[in-house]
């Protein structure tokens, strides 16, 4: 249930906002109490520790003089409320010599609401989680004597957030789990690894899925012992949903984060209502677009979750926007204003990003491939929103010759190229889709938030190597 700590702080937060609201055009507070635990076992150890997303604190925002001012702090009590007010006022009173952007935040709609999404299934104790993980680890080792290490982990997170401004009083409580496995195998001097991860809010189901995931991961790692590196060149590829998601995320997700428009950093702003992809492509982002790791009820600026269609049948129609960028661009916020934690600034960020399914059968897409690769398992990617370059790295690819898998496997697969070339080369989109909710996303090389991505399998042409 919703954080007792934040409940206790609600009145003093409201008092602070009321005081500041008399003096400034806009004042808000986001208060967070995110409790996450990671349980992990491997060959040599068991670990129980707080998750990296754990946070508890407050961020005060004031909009006045055409600027945004923020103060992040750990504690708010009757004793230090004046100190907080003094801190933000001192910041506001600092005379900056540089020119100002002149931003006025849009007027917020009045809303008071408490959102709750509880975990489904049984509540597992620490003992039960550790026992399950040990059982699964042992299962991983039992699958092949070449397994050198099998790490199995379970991250359980409870998100509690409260947003209060002049017009809004919102709270949300929801849970999310991330089961993961990592397997290392050794044959002589040859060492290889494979990994998998997914998300959900039903531990009963997740432990069952994790067993399948471990089996697939061990088998893949064993298979990778025979992997070679791909010969650099241009290839027909078919992607698994994780790679589709990676492409969607890196190719166009970052490019339509509208704080990039404000900074004239996104080429996509020149392409509104223009063709940017094959007509088979429809792309969404939104906390309410699907259920996954970024399915919150409201963002870190108190904007309710939405489902934004970014690309509709190949045409760029929408962008993602935080409140500050909306104020500057005279646009509407889309529920994508996110912070790494209360300690960090808000940016426009993706949530659940995916390509919609279409009508092709995956089997048919493979059967119609003369030569190419089925590319699987996201490793990492990097955006280049201004120049539309793209780099997406996958763990492996399976060779296809004359419509059939040859059994040959290549690793790693580093795909690169020009975003539009890639998206326009899409010639088939599968009729099934999957969203993978176990990833993280940085903006540049910082500001990490949890995101999901995925979608249907796509068939396209891309440069590898």
């Amino acid at each position: 249930m919703f954080s007792k700590y934040l409940k206790k702080k609600k009145e003093i937060v409201k008092k602070l906002i009321a005081d500041l609201g008399e003096k400034y055009e806009f004042a808000s507070i986001l208060a967070t109490d995110v409790k996450g635990m990671v349980y992990a076992v491997d060959k040599s150890s068991t670990v129980i520790r707080p998750s990296s997303v754990s946070e508890c604190g407050f961020v005060l925002r004031v909009n006045t003089n055409g600027l945004i001012y923020e103060y992040s702090f750990s504690e708010l009590t009757e004793k230090n409320i004046d100190e907080v007010k003094k801190g933000i006022e001192e910041l506001i009173n600092k005379k900056a010599s540089s020119k100002k952007v002149d931003v006025t935040l849009n007027k917020e709609e009045e809303i008071k609401k408490d959102f709750v999404r509880k975990s489904k299934g049984k509540k597992y104790s620490d003992n039960e989680i550790i026992d399950k993980l040990k059982e699964l680890r042992d299962y991983g080792f039992s699958l092949d004597e070449r397994v050198l290490n099998c790490q199995v982990s379970f991250e359980s997170i409870e998100y509690n957030k409260m947003y209060i401004s002049k017009n809004k009083e919102l709270t949300q409580f929801y849970t999310y789990d991330n089961p993961r496995c990592y397997c290392l195998v050794k044959d002589g001097d040859n060492i290889k690894y494979a990994y998998d991860g997914f998300g959900g809010n039903n531990p009963d189901e997740e432990f069952v899925l994790l067993k399948d995931s471990i089996k697939e991961t061990v088998n893949l790692a064993i298979e990778l012992l025979g992997a070679t590196m791909p010969t650099p060149g241009k290839y027909t590829i078919i992607t698994d949903p994780s790679i589709t998601g990676l492409i969607a995320h890196e190719a166009f997700g970052h490019g339509v984060e509208m704080d990039m428009f404000v900074k004239d950093r996104a080429k996509s702003q020149e392409y509104k209502n223009k063709e940017v992809a094959s007509s088979l492509v429809t792309m969404h982002d939104g906390a309410s677009a699907t259920f996954s790791s970024a399915s919150y009820f409201f963002d870190d600026e108190g904007v309710l979750a939405q489902d934004t269609v970014i690309i509709d049948k190949g045409i760029l129609i929408g962008g993602l926007c935080d409140s500050v960028s909306a104020g500057i661009l005279k646009y509407h916020p889309t529920g994508n204003g996110r912070r790494e934690s209360f300690k960090r600034k808000v940016y426009t960020r993706m949530t659940n990003t995916f390509f919609d399914k279409n009508k092709d059968k995956l089997e048919g897409m493979i059967a119609s491939t003369e030569y190419g690769y089925y590319i699987c398992a996201t490793n990492n990617g990097m955006e280049d929103p201004k120049n539309w370059g793209i780099q997406c790295t996958a763990l492996y690819g399976r060779e296809i010759v004359n419509g059939k898998f040859t059994g040959k496997i290549v690793s790693p697969v580093v795909m690169s190229g020009y975003v539009i070339d890639l998206l326009e080369s899409i010639e088939a989109v599968s009729n099934t889709k999957k969203i993978i909710g176990s990833g993280g996303c940085g903006k540049g090389y910082k500001e990490w938030v949890r995101v999901s991505d995925g979608g249907a399998s796509i068939k396209a042409t891309v440069k590898i190597g």
Binding site: E55, Y69, K99, L148, M382, G465
Partner: protein, 445 residues
């Protein structure tokens, strides 16, 4: 902000000490304050300050022959009863953890090293960040046909106060300052409307008034690199298909990332789980490699004298003239292996080479010097090195051309065996060593 942290720490330690079930405990106390300024199109958009703390508490519990441990976080003031509840919860968790026993780090008497902000700068952090912004804006330019401006500039002054306390006598404290800058130099042609940009991240831990001169130089170089990118042509326009095996010169950040991956399997955890690629005494490079590398791990600064487990940090040589001479890592796996913990040493120091970059980039050979990548990709176990290049200088044997929009790839082992290091050195936050390293016979695509 006055959080009465000392009272909270004392209260917590008292409860921990009085609990008979706890065999040992540790506290990692992190207090951080920052001043941050965010500029959009060279205009101020947001000013921020932060003043936060977190205490990570780890309790250890003997479970027969084994050791249980569990951690939890405190991030606001709580009373004795609440602390007791959290400790009991952690004890319950730790009772299901049966790791091989090890001793936590024992403390040594150490003088507290405190560095106050007002002693490192003659101006306030806010004023210093404004001066920094002005250096970037002064480096930008605009004429009738084109401009290079910093379309996004984010400036952070970070003060970290870190304390480490444990039940075995560790009680250390350090204070460090850092300037972090994310800068996006952006080119616009007013004639063609062609636009391009580069991503630049700078982190400086030696914060003082003189730093502004280094920042000024960095801003100027960022503008020069961005200008070069605006002139870059597609690699395919300047190179034939049968000429795509070329020597590649990497710069500091990419050299650092490559080495980070190469030494990653020499940490104690990898050694303990038998996933290390080499054993101490093995040659990491072939015997006949002309340029043997020496790699050390070092702390960031003299103020950074202990790590999160309370290990006192000393620099350690990992690879000496191509030979693996030491593993590295934290207390726990060091203890299991019967070795001395080196602690968490974040800086890679690569020994410099004996040739200047002019000699490495020969006049009678073709080469590519990578200026900006999407992120170098290294797969240690597959032996892969490569990645997408956003900007490079290509020398075709006659002249240098700026190129972009291509990738390179090759064999990591071959790259290491063929490496040539410059005698020009550079120090960035997590890397000290040659500014340039040439790896041979990479395939361009």
């Amino acid at each position: 902000m006055n959080y009465n942290l000392n009272t909270l720490i004392k209260r917590t330690i008292k409860v921990l000490s009085q609990n008979k079930e706890i065999s040992d405990y540790s506290l990692n106390i992190n207090k951080k304050s920052t001043t941050e300024m965010f500029y959009v199109l060279q205009k101020l958009e947001t000013s921020r300050i932060t003043d936060t703390f977190e205490i990570l508490i780890t309790i250890y519990k003997k479970n027969g022959e084994n050791l249980g441990q569990a951690s939890f976080m405190i991030s606001h003031d709580i009373n004795k009863k609440q602390i007791e509840e959290l400790i009991n919860q952690a004890l319950y968790s730790a009772s299901f953890v049966n790791n091989k026993y090890y001793d936590i780090v024992k403390g040594e008497k150490k003088i507290k090293k405190i560095k106050k902000i007002d002693k490192v700068l003659s101006v306030t952090p806010f004023e210093f960040l404004e001066k920094t912004a002005n250096e970037f804006f002064n480096a930008s330019f605009e004429n009738e046909s084109e401009s290079i401006k910093f379309n996004s500039l984010e400036l952070f002054f970070i003060n970290n106060n870190v304390r480490m306390i444990n039940s075995k006598g560790v009680n250390y404290e350090k204070e460090t300052n850092e300037i972090m800058i994310e800068a996006i130099p952006s080119f616009t042609s007013f004639k063609t409307n062609y636009k391009t940009e580069l991503y630049r991240m700078y982190r400086y831990n030696d914060v003082n008034d003189k730093l502004i001169e280094r920042i000024k130089k960095a801003a100027k170089e960022a503008v020069e690199d961005c200008k070069l990118r605006s002139e870059a042509v597609s690699l395919n326009e300047v190179i034939k298909d049968d000429e795509k095996i070329v020597d590649v010169v990497l710069r500091d950040e990419d050299i650092s990332n490559m080495l980070d991956e190469i030494i990653s399997s020499y940490d104690y955890h990898s050694v303990y789980t038998e996933s290390n690629m080499h054993k101490v005494g093995d040659m990491v490079q072939k015997d006949d490699s002309k340029n043997k590398i020496t790699v050390k791990l070092e702390k960031i600064s003299k103020e950074d004298f202990f790590d999160g487990e309370g290990v006192l940090l000393d620099d350690v040589t990992i690879i000496d003239k191509g030979k693996l001479v030491s593993y590295y890592g934290g207390n726990r796996f060091a203890s299991y292996l019967g070795l001395k913990p080196t602690g968490s040493l974040p800086v890679i120091h690569l020994g410099k080479g004996n040739k200047s970059i002019d000699k490495i980039e020969k006049k009678n050979e073709k080469w590519i010097e990578v200026i900006d990548m999407s992120g170098i990709q290294v797969d240690l176990y597959q032996g892969y090195i490569g990645g997408e290049v956003r900007l490079a200088k290509y020398y075709d044997g006659k002249e240098i051309k700026a190129v972009s929009g291509f990738s390179f790839s090759g064999n990591l082992v071959d790259a290491l065996n063929s490496i040539e290091l410059s005698k020009e050195e550079i120090a960035i936050r997590f890397y000290r060593g040659p500014k340039y390293a040439k790896i041979k016979n990479m395939e361009l695509n």
